[in-house]
Symmetry: C2
Subunit: 132 residues, 2 copies
DNA sequence: ATACCAAATTGTAATGATTACAAATAAATT
DNA sequence: AATTTATTTGTAATCATTACAATTTGGTAT
């Protein structure tokens, strides 16, 4: 439950944080800051965009969400699914799909003597909808 | 040779393009637009930053170089190695290392019915230099 | 419950990478 | 050498994100 997640991350529970976190987790759109902002406006007309940015920063830092960046898209996207998975980004419609891939490299703690903390991977191409 | 690469890509051969392409290929730093610009200033004091951006766009479009984007870095980086490989980005010093990884997913032409054109992947963590 | 303090929220202004655009210049072809 | 077309240049605009200071709020101790 959302409130508990914030508590566990020792983040103060506020209306803005609850709703933003809930939105990112429940919708599977990997929303941008602006999408979050426009959603929040419908709940709380005085929300500030800075709050959105502050909040996603806190949520990212405490690992409640993840950030992702894709070539060809100007905005950072936020992902409520925090366990390792990857993405497919459509070059035509821009839609982002979650992808489960198996790869022997995910378990590696080290590569070429560098200590690995995170793995990011994505495919680009034409999605099944746009192929039609 | 640089001039031939441009010809094959049917790009007009200009001093700026030759030097920019040569710089991106020979240096292994995955330079940003600004790094390219500052290098070019030493060769041609009237170079415009717009030319750098125009040039990397043409080179990317014709597949003579690749662009890459990393979390935690504001600038797009340019890579003269165009065959499939990946990167390690140090969270401390920001340095980018080329990584050769084997993965059964590189050969896939399709995933979940989406047509794959490109694969991007990178690891982040602490590089062997910063671990010391 | 009340008061307090640290942290969160808000609004505005700044930053900084990238793009748009129009004028000047240069490459390649006839 | 002249012409055509693409490239280069400089300036101004765009747009996501961050900085910062003032206000408000959540949570804790009284």
């Amino acid at each position: 439950m959302i409130t508990n997640k914030l508590k566990k991350a020792s983040l103060k529970s506020t209306f803005q944080r609850e709703k933003i976190l809930e939105y990112i987790i429940s919708r599977k759109e990997h929303p941008t800051a602006d999408m979050i902002y426009r959603y929040m406006l419908t709940l709380s007309p005085c929300i500030s965009k800075t709050t959105v940015y502050n909040t996603v920063k806190s949520l990212t830092k405490t690992n409640l969400i993840k950030s992702v960046k894709f070539l060809g898209q100007d905005e950072i996207r936020y992902d409520g699914t925090v366990d390792t998975h990857h993405h497919f980004v459509c070059e035509k419609c821009g839609k982002i799909y979650d992808i489960e891939v198996l790869c022997q490299n995910f378990n590696k703690k080290e590569i070429n003597e560098h200590k690995i903390n995170n793995v990011y991977a994505y495919f680009t191409g034409i999605c099944k909808e746009c192929k039609k």
